[in-house]
């Protein structure tokens, strides 16, 4: 009988004031799940399961949105349940994430600049089964010495690029989501790690989902591939470079154009002067239609934590395609039936946010009220009929996001890292001064 656990964070600050009392009020609810759970430590040597959940109640105001209006709305975004399991001294691992955005935000999340999967200026809802990957690590045991070889398969992320934005400190999705990650595919991944170097190669289906309830197209499995090289020179530093060849991502039957994608990033996740600091710098490039369209992205973000307070910032400059939209200005025409776009826009965005963590280890419930402000500039690049000023009324925007992130149980992991890459998968840059484990 496997143990069942929910990971708890090791140390907690005392919660303060009304929020603290609120959290204490939620304690019975939060404690009902942990009743099932013995200790994490014991789980590492025998079969174990961890459970966690996440959700962000979010108010968003954006000005302008398409057609020059402003818009405000409240949504429950990123609602997810994570179930992780391990056995055979963690040689066998299961990662799963169930995502409920298809129910809570079927029309997407208001996010100026976001695009993909038929949404534009709204971030698309993820599929219900966001991730379900079984991985077998260190398959050769001691035969290959300290080198480890792993295989992983299931539905999840291709070994390419950086972490899912959902597990990063900035709540607002970056414009480069579809340039810097490849997710929700049927994947088969082989990995090798020796010392600080890990190499992964994966096969997957090129088609991206068209709606939350859709499964990857099985017949297209293997029409796309990617490889990622990761170096971990220190415990806090991670460098990666990856390449992917993705066939017809936006045309599910497979008649669409091919993408060649590159990603390079450097990531810091460790202490600076005894305080947790997270930083990410990434560059991504996607070349499509035999080089007819090229989109580039540069992004830098960081989070500084002191006690229960966290300050985060992101700078992003990303080019995105402008596609013909339907009568709903937040949707682009699907499926494609021509290889044309209306132009390319470059989005330069600064996002500054502040969050204050409520709760403690006894509640096993993290709560993070936060506020985020973004200011951005849009520019037409490379010609085409799309005109920023005509469509938005001006070439700058700002948005305000006020929200509450709730994370009972296990915190969100770095999605998309399986097998030999999973060593680095426990932290998504969401650490707090009071539970930092490094």
């Amino acid at each position: 009988m496997p143990d069942v656990v929910i990971a708890s964070r090791s140390v907690a600050k005392q919660s303060r004031g009304l929020p603290g009392r609120l959290l204490r009020g939620l304690r019975p609810l939060a404690m009902t799940v942990p009743l099932l759970l013995p200790s994490l430590a014991r789980a590492q040597s025998s079969p174990w399961i961890r459970v966690g959940a996440n959700g962000v109640l979010l108010y968003t105001f954006a000005d302008p949105v398409p057609r020059g209006r402003s818009l405000a709305e409240v949504r429950l975004v990123q609602p997810a349940i994570m179930v992780h399991a391990g056995a055979l001294s963690n040689r066998l691992r299961l990662l799963s994430t169930i995502n409920f955005e298809g129910l809570t935000m079927p029309a997407g999340e208001l996010t100026p600049g976001a695009w993909g999967e038929g949404f534009i200026d709204r971030r698309h809802p993820h599929t219900y089964l966001h991730e379900l990957v079984l991985s077998a690590d260190d398959l050769l045991g001691g035969i290959d010495g300290s080198t480890r070889f792993s295989l992983a398969a299931g539905k999840g992320f291709a070994p390419f690029g950086t972490d899912d934005p959902m597990v990063r400190p900035v709540v607002r999705y970056p414009v480069n989501h579809h340039l810097a990650q490849i997710l929700e595919r049927l994947v088969a991944i082989a990995g090798v790690r020796t010392g600080p170097i890990a190499v992964e190669a994966g096969l997957f289906n090129g088609d991206e989902p068209e709606r939350p309830g859709q499964w990857p197209k099985l017949s297209r499995f293997g029409d796309s591939w990617s490889g990622r090289l990761t170096a971990l020179p220190t415990a806090s530093v991670e460098l990666q470079g990856s390449y992917a060849r993705v066939h017809s991502p936006e045309h599910r039957p497979g008649a669409g154009t091919e993408q060649h994608k590159w990603s390079v990033s450097g990531r810091w996740d460790g202490d600076v002067s005894g305080k947790p600091v997270y930083a990410l710098v990434e560059w991504a490039r996607t070349s499509e239609a035999e080089g007819f369209f090229v989109f580039r992205s540069f992004l830098a973000e960081g989070a500084w934590t002191r006690g229960a307070s966290r300050l985060h910032y992101r700078f992003e400059r990303t080019a995105r395609p402008e596609e013909q939209r339907t009568l709903d200005p937040f949707r682009s025409i699907r499926p494609h039936f021509e290889n044309s776009i209306l132009g390319t826009t470059r989005w330069t965005i600064h996002t500054l946010g502040y969050g204050y963590r409520l709760g403690d280890s006894s509640t096993r419930l993290d709560a993070l009220p936060f506020v985020e402000v973004s200011y951005g500039r849009m520019a037409d690049t490379g010609g085409g009929v799309f005109d920023v000023r005509s469509f938005y009324g001006r070439d700058t925007f700002w948005s305000l996001e006020i929200g509450l992130r709730l994370s009972p149980g296990m915190p969100m992991h770095r999605m998309g890292r399986y097998g030999v890459a999973q060593d680095t998968a426990d932290s998504g840059g969401m650490e707090y001064d009071d539970h930092h484990e490094h």
């Binding site: 068209e210 013909q324 200005p329 499926p335 021509e338 776009i341 010609g383 085409g384 469509f391």
Partner: protein, 500 residues
């Protein structure tokens, strides 16, 4: 008795045969040319003053039909005043060739090959000389920059009115049919704008031959489909009916009269998402009663690919242009060669045209079946390839020429490539054998398509104009009417051009 006679006769024959064999081994007899016949190059067409694309060729053989080399063949012109070399020599295959450059006389011309004493000599070749289409010079007469609030799409001109569609979103949705009055000098003046509700693009427009009915196709909205309007008052089309297909929409619609009834051939887009929507299809409506369009046939393309983009219907043959897969599809819809009808189309053949290095495949988009009144040929189908593009800025795609003289076996014979731009819709001046092609950021192109078409046609470019100028030109379609060429440009609206 019969047996005995046969045996008696066989002996001398055997002896002669053996003797003959012995003679062959000892001293071969010289091969004596006995006859001459045409081997290639007959029945060609070219412009006056130009060489025929294929050399005239004769075959010289001996009495046993063995090719004879090194025979001097004399060539001469017999009609039309053209030129041929005086002589040529047969090669090891017995073939002798000569290039025939046509003379200045339009019509039938002739040349002959002669070897004295040979059976079949002289061999006479005939060719058709067509008029050199010189003098085509595209230039702007009037119009332009007259639809500032919307991007323009398709165009149809009938009588003194023109009708154009709108596309996508500029300052307003592309949900409008524009009605233009053409003045005494052909200059367009906007007289009416008709909104088609719940669509984002009026993607195609056509008027029936009798000028009584206008049909348009709508897409990019919830009310995609075809819309029919009465032109009893051509300045103010009045809505009659529609046949809706939902959000997938209809990309183009083509009217054609077959056996006295009027039909609309509609190209339905692939639906979304895949599992819940209809496949792309050719929908054929009987619109003889335009107030009650009736769907009579549905030809589905389950490949889904990028769907069917356009149709060209003539003489009961429907050409469907269905992107990369299946590419060109030819139907009998009333021609009779396969017993098809509009309600029961019969597929004749398919062809996937060449990519020509254009991203991202054959991208078979539109076409025109050329009925050449000069040669009476119905040999060539021009196909537009719509490659990758940034709308309003750059584009790609060639014109492909397909020989459909045998509709069951179409094959590509020529192409035209314009650097830096891609082709879109066509119109033809068939009398003058000129193809006019909208070429997006390349504007409008006039192409000489007289004579035999083969290989790269880049030398046949007659004229090119960018009506709105560089940066303000992205031409969707053209139509020849009332002695002018009208061009509809996505950026700069409706233009009146002259071709002289």
């Amino acid at each position: 008795m019969i047996t005995m006679n046969t045996r008696r006769a066989a002996l001398p024959i055997l002896l002669i045969a053996l003797a003959a064999c012995g003679d062959d081994r000892a001293a071969p007899q010289p091969i004596v040319p006995a006859s001459i016949a045409a081997s290639g190059g007959t029945g060609q067409t070219a412009q006056t003053g130009s060489p025929l694309p294929t050399p005239l060729t004769v075959l010289v053989t001996d009495a046993t039909d063995t090719p004879v080399p090194d025979v001097v063949v004399a060539w001469s012109v017999v009609d039309g005043g053209g030129g041929v070399p005086a002589t040529s020599l047969t090669n090891s295959a017995g073939l002798a060739s000569a290039t025939f450059t046509l003379g200045p006389v339009v019509g039938q011309q002739g040349a002959q090959a002669q070897v004295s004493g040979l059976t079949g000599s002289p061999v006479v070749f005939t060719a058709t000389a067509t008029q050199e289409p010189g003098g085509t010079d595209l230039s702007v007469v009037s119009g332009g920059n007259n639809v500032p609030e919307r991007f323009s799409s398709d165009l149809w001109v009938h009588g003194n009115y023109a009708y154009s569609g709108t596309w996508g979103f500029r300052e307003n949705e592309g949900n409008t049919l524009k009605v233009w009055s053409l003045g005494a000098a052909g200059s367009p003046t906007l007289v009416e704008s008709i909104i088609v509700p719940e669509i984002g693009t009026v993607s195609d427009v056509q008027v029936s031959d009798d000028g009584q009915l206008l049909v348009l196709s709508g897409e990019a909205g919830t009310n995609g489909g075809i819309y029919l309007y009465s032109l009893s008052n051509p300045a103010a089309p009045s809505f009659l009916s529609s046949a809706l297909v939902g959000e997938a929409g209809v990309h183009t619609v083509t009217l054609s009269t077959i056996d006295g009834r009027l039909y609309a051939f509609a190209s339905r887009n692939p639906g979304f998402p895949e599992e819940e929507a209809t496949d792309p299809a050719l929908l054929i409506y009987d619109v003889t009663d335009p107030e009650a369009p009736t769907l009579v046939a549905t030809e589905v393309f389950p490949e889904r690919d990028y769907g069917i983009h356009d149709t060209f219907v003539r003489d009961g043959i429907a050409f469907a242009f269905v992107w990369d897969n299946p590419g060109l599809v030819i139907y009998d819809v009333g021609n009779g060669i396969r017993g098809g009808s509009p309600s029961a189309p019969v597929e004749i053949s398919r062809l996937i045209t060449a990519t020509n290095g254009v991203c991202c495949g054959p991208s078979v988009h539109n076409g025109w079946w050329f009925h050449n009144p000069v040669t009476s040929e119905r040999r060539y189908l021009f196909i537009g390839q719509e490659g990758a593009a940034t709308i309003g800025s750059n584009s790609s795609g060639d014109i492909h020429v397909v020989d459909v003289s045998d509709l069951a076996q179409p094959h590509e014979v020529a192409f035209f490539h314009l650097n830096g731009a891609g082709t879109h819709n066509f119109w033809m001046d068939e009398e003058r054998q000129i193809l006019y092609a909208a070429y997006y950021n390349g504007g409008v192109v006039a192409l000489d398509v007289s004579g035999t078409l083969s290989g790269n046609l880049s030398g046949r470019l007659l004229s090119q104009v960018k009506p709105g100028g560089t940066g303000n030109t992205f031409t969707w379609g053209v139509q020849l009417a009332n002695g002018y060429l009208y061009a509809i440009d996505m950026l700069s609206g409706l233009w009146q051009l002259t071709t002289e």
